[in-house]
C-alpha cells in the first residue's frame, strides 16, 4: 500500500538501510528481521548492538545509528540537545525494574540501613529505587548504596550476601527466585504510576532524509509485535533457540507478559512528562531545562 512496499516488490537491490541501535538479544527486532517483516517494507535493518541508553544516544549522535530503542537515557539525551526525536515506543514501555531482596525480607522498610545495589549512576534502576524509597517514606541516605551493577554482577553480590537487595530487570529477579537466594520484593511499576521508560527514537537527519523508511520501520515493527503477542510460545521458543535465553526464567517472565503487550507504539505523554519531571528531580536532566514531551516526540510516523 505504501511506497516502500511497492519498491520492495520491484527488487531486493533497492532496500533502504536502517541501522537500529539496541541491546543484544532484543526480541521484537530480531524476530521481525527473521520473519522478513522489515524486508517487506523495503528495509534492510541492521542491528547496532550497544550496551546502554547512553551509548545508543551517542551512537545516534555519531551517525552510527539511524533509529534505536532504549530506556530513559533517550529522554536525557534528547533533553540535552542530541538531535533525535522519539517516534514510538516498544511493546512494554513502562517501568519494568524490580527490587529483589534476600528471601528473608518481608518488607521494604526492613532494608533500612542495609547495603543495597541500585545500579550505576544515571541508570533507570537508581531512579526506580529512589522512587520506591520515597513512596515508602525513606530518603536515599537511609540506605547504604553500593554499586554492583544490575545484571550478573548484581546477582552475584546478592547471592554472596554482599548486598541485601538489588534493583534489576524482572528476568534477573526471577532467576534469583528460581535459584532460591532472592525474592522480588517490589515492582517499580507499582510506584511510578503514569510513567514511560522506554522509547524508540530516530535521528533528526534520518527523519528528514528518509521519512518513508521511518514509517515503514514502525509498520513492520508493529506487525512483529502483533504477531509475537498472538504467539507467545513461538516468541519464547525463538528467544531460547535463537537468542539463547535461559529457558526456565524466560518462560516464567514472558509467558504472562507477552500477551499483555501494547502494540500501538503510542507514547504516553503524561507518563513521559512524569518521567521528565523525575529525571529533573534526580538531576539527570538539567533542572532548569524547559523541555517538554511535545518537543521531543513526533508520532506522525506510527501506522494508523
Amino acid at each position: 500500500t505504501n511506497k516502500n512496499e511497492q519498491s520492495a516488490q520491484k527488487g531486493e537491490t533497492q532496500k533502504t538501510l536502517v541501522r537500529y541501535a539496541t541491546s543484544a538479544g532484543n526480541l521484537p527486532i530480531t524476530f521481525g528481521i527473521k520473519k522478513g517483516y522489515f524486508a517487506e517494507q523495503g528495509l534492510d535493518v541492521k542491528i547496532v548492538t550497544i550496551t546502554g541508553g547512553v551509548e545508543a544516544v551517542t551512537a545516534a549522535a555519531a551517525g552510527e545509528a539511524d533509529l534505536g530503542g532504549m530506556g530513559s537515557p533517550i529522554l536525557v539525551g534528547a533533553a540535552a540537545g542530541v538531535p533525535i526525536t522519539i517516534i514510538g515506543a516498544p511493546p512494554a514501555s513502562g517501568q519494568h525494574f524490580v527490587l529483589v531482596s534476600k528471601p528473608q525480607y518481608k518488607d521494604f522498610a526492613d532494608l533500612k540501613g542495609k547495603p543495597v545495589s541500585p545500579g550505576a549512576p544515571g541508570q533507570g534502576t537508581i531512579q526506580a529505587f529512589n522512587v520506591i524509597a520515597k513512596a515508602k517514606g525513606f530518603k536515599p541516605s537511609d540506605f547504604q548504596y553500593v554499586n554492583a551493577g544490575t545484571s550478573a554482577n548484581a546477582l552475584a553480590a546478592l547471592q554472596a550476601g554482599k548486598v541485601e537487595a538489588i534493583i534489576t530487570s524482572e528476568m534477573i529477579g526471577v532467576k534469583a527466585e528460581l535459584e532460591g537466594f532472592g525474592k522480588i520484593l517490589e515492582r517499580a511499576a507499582d510506584y511510578f504510576g503514569h510513567y514511560q521508560h522506554s522509547f524508540i527514537f530516530a535521528t533528526n537527519s534520518f527523519i528528514k532524509e528518509k521519512p518513508e523508511a521511518v514509517r515503514g520501520f514502525l509498520a513492520a515493527y508493529r506487525k512483529t509485535v502483533e504477531y509475537l503477542k498472538a504467539h507467545p510460545d513461538e516468541a519464547i521458543k525463538f528467544a531460547v533457540t535463537e537468542l539463547q535465553q535461559d529457558e526456565v526464567t524466560y518462560r516464567k517472565v514472558n509467558e504472562k507478559e507477552i500477551p499483555t503487550w501494547e502494540t500501538s507504539g503510542r507514547i504516553d505523554f503524561a507518563g513521559t512528562e512524569h518521567a521528565i519531571k523525575i529525571l529533573k528531580d534526580l538531576g539527570d536532566i538539567d533542572p532548569n531545562s524547559k523541555v517538554t514531551a511535545q518537543q521531543i516526540v513526533d508520532e506522525q510516523f506510527l501506522p494508523k
Partner: protein, 269 residues
C-alpha cells in the same frame, strides 16, 4: 703421550626444554584439577563459576556449531590489526623518544598523559570518531597495547652500552646501522618484554572493546553469555583468551630467548 680428557656429548638442553614444558603444564593441570574438585564438591556456586569439565563441553558446543570460529575470526582481526599498528607506531615513537633528548623532552609528558587517560570516560568520543565497527575496536586495542612498547623501547635506548655505540660509529655505521646492529640487539629483552606486555594488554583490549560495544567476537560472546546466565560459555570464552595469551607469551618468550642465546646463563646459584 698424554691422555686428554674427553667428555661425552650432552643433551642437557633438550632435556631441560621438555622438563620445563612438562612442569608448566602440570602446574596448570593441577590448577584445573583443584578447580574441578572444588566444583564437584559444590564448594562454589555453579551459577557463577563453571568447572573445567563443563567448560570443555561448552567449548565442544561452540566449536561444533561454528560460533567460536566465527567470533575468533572477528576478534582475531581486531587483535592483529590493533597489535600490528601498535607495533608499527609504537616502535618508532619509543625509539625516537629514547634516542633524541629533545623529542623526549617535548612529547614525554604528553604521552604520559595519554597513557593515563581513562579510555572508558572517552567512549563517546571513540564512538563519534571511530564508529562502532572494527575501527573503534582496533583503536582500543592499539591504545591498550602501544604504551608498554613505547615506554620499554624508550628506556631500552638509554641503556645501550656506550662502548658498543663507539665501535659501531668507529666502523662508519650510519645512524640506521647503529640502530640495527647495536641498539636493536641490546634492547631485545626490553623489546620482547614490551611485546609480551602489549600482547596481553591487547587481548584484554579486544575483549573490553567488544564487551562495551560489540556485536560479534569473543568479548561479545562472553558478555552475552554472561547476561543470559550461560556461565560455562563465559568460561569457555575466557579460556580461549587465556590460552591465546599463553601461546603468544610463550612464542614471544622463546623468540626472545632465541635471539638472546648469546647471553650466558646468569650464574647466581
Amino acid at each position: 703421550m698424554r691422555k686428554v680428557t674427553v667428555f661425552p656429548k650432552s643433551n642437557e638442553v633438550k632435556r631441560e626444554k621438555i622438563a620445563s614444558t612438562l612442569l608448566g603444564s602440570s602446574v596448570i593441570l593441577l590448577f584445573l584439577i583443584s578447580w574441578e574438585l572444588l566444583f564437584q564438591f559444590r564448594l562454589v556456586n555453579p551459577l557463577f563459576i563453571s568447572s573445567p569439565s563443563r567448560v570443555v563441553l561448552a567449548l565442544i558446543t561452540i566449536i561444533t556449531d561454528g560460533s567460536l570460529l566465527q567470533n575468533l575470526i572477528i576478534s582475531g582481526q581486531e587483535f592483529v590489526f590493533g597489535y600490528g599498528v601498535a607495533i608499527l607506531i609504537g616502535f618508532p615513537i619509543g625509539i625516537m623518544l629514547g634516542w633524541f633528548k629533545l623529542i623526549r623532552a617535548a612529547f614525554g609528558p604528553f604521552i604520559a598523559a595519554m597513557q593515563a587517560t581513562p579510555r572508558i570516560a572517552l567512549m563517546p568520543l571513540f564512538i563519534i570518531w571511530f564508529g562502532l565497527g572494527i575501527t573503534s575496536k582496533i583503536v582500543i586495542v592499539l591504545l591498550s597495547a602501544i604504551f608498554p612498547l613505547i615506554v620499554n623501547l624508550q628506556v631500552a635506548m638509554s641503556t645501550i652500552d656506550n662502548d658498543l655505540i663507539h665501535v659501531a660509529r668507529a666502523y662508519g655505521a650510519s645512524r640506521w646501522q647503529v640502530f640495527r646492529s647495536i641498539a636493536l640487539p641490546t634492547s631485545l629483552p626490553f623489546l620482547i618484554t614490551g611485546l609480551r606486555l602489549a600482547a596481553s594488554r591487547g587481548l584484554l583490549g579486544v575483549i573490553m572493546a567488544e564487551v562495551f560495544g560489540g556485536a560479534a567476537g569473543i568479548g561479545y560472546m562472553i558478555q552475552y553469555a554472561g547476561s543470559t546466565f550461560q556461565t560455562d560459555k563465559v568460561f569457555a570464552g575466557v579460556l580461549v583468551v587465556a590460552f591465546t595469551g599463553i601461546t603468544l607469551d610463550f612464542t614471544l618468550d622463546r623468540f626472545g630467548r632465541y635471539f638472546d642465546r648469546w647471553r650466558g646463563e646468569v650464574a647466581v646459584h
